[in-house]
């Protein structure tokens, strides 16, 4: 902590009652004060042998993005950056159509064929339309992580609160929370999930959720250790902790665990029940998926983004596309 001083003491005195607008006035309810989240004993995630696949580089997306999580897949589209590091281009993987985006943002939330970023000049891009449709309510309200997008809504994280809103609506619902910056939320409309730091001192980071139709925020995973990097797709939820990668069907609450050293950089990418993640073993970083598709070999592979048969990864600074000869959603 910085030095105590009369000057700082005076400033603190003056700031009493002038708290930042989104700082919770009362301590947030701890996970320990709420009922334990439903959880079954985890089953071992069985990963089948790798399917036949091919891979090719994507030199059009060789430029580093300001947000290192990009390029990434938005359905069959690769969304990436030009020399300026902004998300200014997208390429359709089947047709090869290239779209140069107007008013490109530094970072964004992606869903199938859609890009969403807040800010006056941004909004919702529905590919292949290069123009954003101005949308939504919380323009420039200090997002601390890229938003999550799932039609018809958006979830965004702010200092001391979490927000959800309909893309076409001008009204946002917010709740006090302690979302950790940088980790994006996951959205399974109408429920938003995020990495929460309220109990960090006692048992590390947790995953919390909030269904705005069903009551206040609730703890989803509160085990000791750092649960982080939450992702959602359809009825599936994935996250990473110090044990490995977790997959949960949030209808049945059934859980699967694959023990691995993961979540050290990029989060999991989830396409239906198929999760892909970075894994490091003996100083080597590879990408593996729960359906067996993988990107391994010499050098480090990382930053997975999965949709359908496609797995976008980066090796060195160059993005590569790994394509499974046949891919379909599989039960874990």
């Amino acid at each position: 902590m910085n030095a105590p001083s009369w000057g700082r003491f005076t400033a603190v005195l003056l700031s009493v009652g002038c708290a930042a607008p989104f700082s919770p006035a009362q301590p947030l309810p701890s996970a320990h004060s709420l009922p334990a989240p439903p959880a079954s004993e985890p089953q071992v995630l069985v990963i089948p042998p790798p399917p036949a696949s091919s891979r090719r580089p994507l030199p059009a997306f060789r430029h580093a993005c300001r947000d290192s999580r990009f390029p990434a897949l938005a359905g069959p589209w690769v969304v990436g950056c030009g020399p300026g590091g902004r998300l200014d281009r997208a390429e359709h993987l089947e047709t090869g159509q290239i779209v140069e985006l107007d008013s490109p943002p530094d970072s964004a939330g992606l869903s199938e064929g859609q890009i969403f970023a807040q800010g006056d000049e941004h909004g919702l891009w529905t590919l292949p339309d290069p123009l954003p449709r101005h949308a939504s309510s919380l323009m420039d309200q200090g997002e601390i992580a890229p938003p999550a997008l799932q039609d018809p809504g958006v979830a965004s994280l702010h200092e001391g609160r979490v927000a959800v809103f309909l893309i076409r609506d001008s009204h946002a619902l917010t709740r006090e929370a302690d979302p950790l910056p940088w980790f994006p939320p996951a959205l399974a409309w109408p429920t938003v999930y995020w990495v929460d730091g309220r109990d960090q001192a006692s048992d590390g980071l947790d995953i919390w959720g909030w269904n705005h139709r069903a009551g206040p925020p609730f703890p989803v995973v509160t085990a000791p250790g750092d649960q982080r990097h939450v992702a959602s797709s359809e009825t599936w939820l994935a996250w990473i902790d110090d044990d490995g990668i977790w997959l949960q069907d949030h209808q049945s609450h059934a859980r699967w665990l694959h023990r691995a050293d993961a979540g050290f950089r990029a989060g999991p990418s989830l396409w239906g029940s198929v999760a892909c993640w970075e894994e490091r073993t003996a100083g080597d970083i590879d990408v593996r998926c729960s359906d067996g598709l993988e990107a391994t070999g010499a050098g480090d592979q990382g930053w997975p983004s999965r949709w359908g048969p496609w797995l976008l990864i980066r090796q060195g600074d160059l993005p590569w596309l790994v394509t499974a000869d046949a891919a379909g959603e599989v039960a874990p």
């Binding site: 902590m1 910085n2 030095a3 105590p4 001083s5 009369w6 000057g7 700082r8 005076t10 400033a11 005195l13 003056l14 700031s15 009652g17 002038c18 300001r66 290192s68 200092e159 950790l180 910056p181 940088w182 730091g197 960090q200 001192a201 750092d226 979540g263 050290f264 950089r265 490091r280 100083g283 970083i285 480090d300």
Partner: protein, 629 residues
């Protein structure tokens, strides 16, 4: 008590209360008054510090060198001597009692007790014109003083170290905290001031010292060469970016310059005890003081050698030199006791290979004979404040007055000594790191020499020099005014400090993450990053010069670097991508550049990916959590 006195006291208290309530109950919810209250606390502590120094210095000089208090500059000598005494007492006080605000307060009371001995110090009384001009020129400095910390040197050293020592309650140093092993003759007083008046206090103290320097140089020039010289000498400094840019910040160059000026003045008037105190103090505040101190002793030595009765004169000078060294030697002793090279962190990194603290060839326009001969011209015409080409600017009037100063040196013994010391110092500077700020200790001497030359010019020629000074102003003041414009909203309370920091500091989001979201007991290692003063957690390493602490640590521990950090209790790393450019180190061959710069940075990045967890990233700054194996 007289009823009128009671009424007046009540009225004053009431008025002050109304003012404070006005600020406290601001309906718009802004904290517009907070920076001003912080500045008030800072200035209060700084004025108390300056007055205490003057009292202590006056009492000291009254014993050692009574004639030093006799003339108009007695107050300046007392202030300088008190500052040196403050630094000298600070080490044993901090070592024995810790670095706590109460220790600083006790030390300040002890120094102020010097006034009880009634030293014959007459405080300066500048006229309204001088005060008005000073207030006008001090506006950018006051805005800087009121602003959050964004200056590189304050971030990694000048304010970071005092804050960290206060937080830890102890002296720090060694390879984990290399800046803590420098002589702390100024930075411990900065710590005491910070403990009393917040971050604004050391900045305000620095501003007071700069004001004292300007006033002192004016008084000295008037006394020796008349009013035109008295006007020119301070204006030469005020027309120089390298002087103006740090006025409202807590730096060490101007305090060093003040002590070098006092030493030079003492040498000219034959006051050896004052010379010894000021020269030693200058070295203890910043080693660049040697640029003025070494030529001064050399010139005095030659002069003593040439005069009759040389033995006695040389003996007295040697004694003064030894006394000066005795003032800086405790800091060398402290390093030796800590098992370090006495001059650490400027030397003593060799345990990890051929490490140098600084690459002088990075700076300036060359070290050849031709470059040295052209230095006065190049320094004036080609210096850039934002590149390694001298990293600063000075007024062209220095060069314009160089012939006149040489002429004055021919005719005037005082000017001669000033010119010789300035030229020798310049030569010494040209052999090392040609960073204009390092030349600041010499600048007041050069300004006095130039003022001596100006005083010998006819009025119409003076007008030419004034025109030259004015032509130099835009280039010298533009960066200062640009900074002031950027700082004005936050300094005036119209912009939140966090918004200002996000605008000015690319690392702020990562620092904010650490301050807000890392566990309260987190300990942070700064690898290739330096913004320590903003980090509200205990920190180690940080960057000096070419990221020496990080590069040394990596060279020393190699693949085990992160494990070594974890063993030392470090939980998080603030890492910044540097991407060293070979053209900045063109004097290194490919292999040396790869070995010293590119490979360590690459290997650290690989180690972080291999053994740490990325918790936050923004641009080229990232926070990693270290996983103990």
């Amino acid at each position: 008590m007289h009823p009128r006195l009671i009424g007046g006291a009540l009225m004053a208290t009431w008025a002050l209360g109304v003012g404070l309530c006005f600020v406290r109950m601001e309906p718009s919810g802004t904290t517009a008054g907070a920076p001003w209250l912080a500045a008030g606390a800072g200035f209060g502590a700084a004025v108390a510090g300056a007055l205490a120094c003057t009292g202590a210095g006056g009492a000291l000089l009254a014993r050692l060198d009574p004639s030093a208090l006799d003339d108009h500059l007695g107050w300046l000598r007392a202030l300088g001597a008190g500052l040196v005494l403050w630094g000298l007492l600070s080490w044993p006080a901090a070592a024995l009692l810790g670095v706590h605000p109460w220790v600083g307060s006790a030390l300040l009371i002890l120094l102020a007790a010097g006034w009880l001995l009634r030293p014959a110090v007459r405080l300066p009384r500048p006229g309204p014109g001088v005060l008005a001009l000073g207030a006008l020129l001090a506006i950018p400095a006051v805005l800087a003083l009121l602003s959050p910390i964004t200056d590189t040197d304050e971030l990694y050293y000048h304010l970071a170290l005092p804050a960290r020592m206060l937080d830890q309650g102890a002296l720090l140093g060694g390879a984990w905290m290399p800046n803590g092993s420098r002589p702390l003759a100024l930075h411990l007083p900065y710590a005491w001031l910070m403990g009393l008046g917040g971050a604004a206090a050391p900045r305000a103290f620095h501003l007071l010292l700069a004001g004292a320097l300007l006033l002192g140089i004016r008084q000295r020039a008037i006394q020796w060469w008349g009013r035109s010289a008295g006007l020119a000498a301070p204006l030469l400094l005020l027309g120089s970016l390298s002087f103006m840019s740090t006025l409202g910040l807590a730096y060490a160059d101007i305090p060093t310059a003040l002590l070098v000026l006092i030493a030079t003045d003492a040498a000219l008037s034959g006051r050896l005890p004052t010379l010894a105190i000021a020269a030693g103090g200058a070295l203890a505040v910043k080693y660049t003081g040697v640029l003025g101190v070494a030529p001064l002793f050399a010139v005095l030595g030659v002069r003593a050698f040439l005069q009759p009765g040389r033995g006695r004169a040389l003996g007295a000078l040697t004694l003064a030199g030894l006394a000066a060294l005795a003032i800086v030697a405790p800091w060398w002793l402290r390093n030796l006791l800590d098992g370090l090279h006495p001059l650490f962190p400027f030397a003593g990194w060799q345990d990890a290979g051929p490490f140098v603290f600084q690459f002088p060839h990075k700076y300036g326009m060359g070290h050849s004979l031709a470059a040295t001969l052209l230095l006065p011209w190049n320094l004036t015409m080609h210096a850039e404040h934002d590149s390694m080409v001298f990293l600063g600017r000075i007024s062209p009037a220095f060069l314009a007055l160089a012939p006149a100063a040489l002429w004055a040196a021919w005719r005037d013994a005082r000017a001669r000594l000033l010119v010789v010391v300035a030229l020798c110092g310049l030569l010494l500077w040209s052999l090392g790191t040609q960073w204009l700020r390092y030349l600041l200790p010499l600048l007041p001497i050069a300004a006095l020499a130039a003022a001596a030359g100006l005083a010998r010019l006819p009025r119409w020629a003076m007008a030419g020099v004034a025109a030259c000074w004015l032509l130099g102003l835009p280039a010298n003041l533009r960066p200062v005014l640009a900074t002031a414009r950027s700082q004005a909203p936050v300094a005036l309370g119209l912009e939140a400090p966090e918004v200002y920091l996000a605008r000015e500091q690319s690392a702020w989001p990562a620092i904010h993450w650490i301050n807000q979201h890392s566990p309260a007991d987190a300990k942070v290692a700064l690898l290739y990053s330096w913004q320590a003063a903003l980090i509200e957690r205990p920190w180690v390493l940080g960057s000096v010069e070419d990221h020496v602490p990080t590069r040394h640590f990596l060279a020393l521990h190699g693949d085990h670097a992160l494990q070594r950090l974890a063993d030392a209790g470090v939980t998080h790393v603030l890492w910044s991508r540097v991407n060293f450019l070979h053209k900045s180190y063109a004097f290194l061959d490919d292999a040396a550049f790869e070995d010293q710069f590119e490979r360590p940075e690459r290997e650290l990045q690989e180690a972080l990916q291999r053994d740490a967890v990325l918790m936050f990233e923004h641009g080229r700054h990232a926070v990693y959590k270290i996983q103990p194996r």
